[in-house]
Symmetry: C2
Subunit: 235 residues, 2 copies
C-alpha cells in the first residue's frame, strides 16, 4: 500500500515554495495534522533548522504542523511514528549520505510501503528510485552506497531538461547522460520536467501536472508520455 508524490521540483518559476502543487498536497495530506520533514539535503548549505522553517511556513497555509527530523533524538522512531513524511530537495549525495549514516533507508522504505504518505521534491524524489545514479547533483560528499529507497521500480531524473539545440557548450546534455547510464545499468529512467510529478497510489503510478515526461528504457528509443498516463509497466 503506497501513497507517494514524487515531484520534479519544489518551486516553479514565478511562484513560491510548493505553491504550484499545494492544492493537491491538501488532498494528499488530508489525514495528517503533522508532517515529518527531512531537511538533510540542505539546498545551498542551509541549516536543518532554517530549511524546516521554510517547509513549516509553506505547510502553515494548509494548517499542517511541520517537525524537522533532525530535532528527534531517535530518528528511526520518529519515522515509524510519523503521520506523513516530506523529504525536501537540495543535494542528493548529502541527503543519501545522511540517510545511510543514520540507518534510515530501511525504516523509511518500510513505513512508506505500509502506507505513510510520502512527498519528495527534487533530491527527495531522486531517492524514491532504485538508486541515485541519475541525479543531476554534484557529488560533494561520498555516501556509503548509491542505493536509495526503491519506492518505485525505476529511477528518477528530476528537473529534466531538454537539449538546448542552440548551445555552444560542449558539456553533455541530460539525454546523453541518461544514455550513458544505460551503458552500465538497465532500469528505466523517468525524466520529470519541472511542474510534473508522479502520484503513486497502491499499484498505480500516474504522471501528473501539465507536461509530458520523457521515458528512457534500456535499448529503446526515449519516448514521451502524457500527463494522466499510468506508468505501471515500467520496471
Amino acid at each position: 500500500m503506497r501513497n507517494i508524490i514524487i515531484a520534479s521540483t519544489s518551486t516553479i518559476h514565478g511562484s513560491g515554495y510548493l505553491d504550484y502543487i499545494m492544492a493537491d498536497l491538501k488532498v494528499f495530506f488530508e489525514q495528517a495534522s503533522t508532517i515529518l520533514f527531512v531537511p538533510y539535503a540542505r539546498p545551498s548549505g542551509i541549516s536543518h533548522d532554517d530549511y524546516t522553517e521554510i517547509a513549516s511556513t509553506a505547510f502553515g497555509k494548509i494548517d499542517k504542523k511541520v517537525n524537522g527530523l533532525h530535532t528527534f533524538e531517535n530518528p528511526i522512531e520518529a519515522i515509524k511514528n510519523a503521520e506523513a513524511i516530506f523529504v525536501g530537495g537540495g543535494n542528493t549525495f548529502v541527503l543519501t549520505n545522511q540517510l545511510h549514516k543514520n540507518h534510515l533507508i530501511a525504516p523509511l522504505k518500510e513505513v512508506v510501503f505500509y502506507g505513510t504518505p510520502y512527498l519528495g521534491t527534487s533530491a527527495g524524489s531522486n531517492i524514491c528510485g532504485l538508486n541515485i545514479k541519475t541525479t543531476n547533483d554534484m557529488p560533494i560528499v561520498y555516501p556509503p552506497s548509491f542505493n536509495a529507497l526503491a519506492l518505485v521500480p525505476f529511477n528518477i531524473n528530476p528537473h529534466y531538461l531538454d537539449p538546448d539545440t542552440t548551445s555552444k557548450h560542449k558539456g553533455e546534455t541530460r539525454e546523453t547522460r541518461i544514455k550513458e547510464f544505460h551503458y552500465f545499468n538497465t532500469q528505466p529512467v523517468v525524466g520529470l520536467r519541472e511542474g510534473s510529478w508522479l502520484l503513486v497510489k497502491n499499484d498505480s503510478i500516474i504522471l501528473k501536472g501539465h507536461l509530458t515526461a520523457r521515458i528512457f528504457e534500456y535499448n529503446k528509443t526515449p519516448y514521451e508520455v502524457d500527463s494522466g498516463i499510468e506508468l505501471n509497466h515500467l520496471k
Copy 2:
C-alpha cells in the same frame, strides 16, 4: 617535476577534436613519439577501441602514435613505460571506477610526479584534482572512492558555465553547486571555461587560453583570474 596540461574540454564549438589546442600539444609532447591513451571515460558509452581511434586520428596530425591502455595485458607496466599519457573525457565516475579497480591511481600519480607528460581533458582533468567531488557528470557507476590523482592541490570544475540569468529552470547553477561543495569541503575549486587549460610545469601552474577562470576558495567570494596568471597560491 610535473609536466601537465589540465584542459576544460577536448573540443570547442565549431572545431574538431583537440584542434584548438593542437599547436600547444605539439610543443608539450615534443619529446614523445608515442602517447598512451586512457579511454576509460567512454563518452556516450563509446568502446575503448573506437575512442582510441579518435585520439589516434587527432594525434596523427602531429605524427604521434597512440596506444590504448586497454590493449595492454599489464596496465600498470604500460603506465610506467609510457613516454606520455593522455586521459580523455567522458564520464568521470566511469573513469575513476576503472582506475581504482585496475589499481592505477598510485602508478599514474607516481609517473606524473616523476615527469611523464600528462594531458587531461574534461573527465581526464577532473581526476587531476584532489577528488572528483566537483565533477558535473552523472554518477552512473559507484566507484570505490572519490579520491583522484591529486596532481594539483585543489579541485577542477571543467566546462565551467556561468549562471544563465534568463533561465526559468530551477536546477542549481554551477556556482550554487560549488558553494554547496564548500559547506562540506575546504579545498579550492578552479572553474575552467571551455577553451581554457592549466599548464603545470614543475611548481608553476599557469592559466592558458583566451578566457578568465573562476576561482572558488573556502569562505571567500569567488573571483576571476586572467589568462597567463600563476595559480601556485591555491591549496
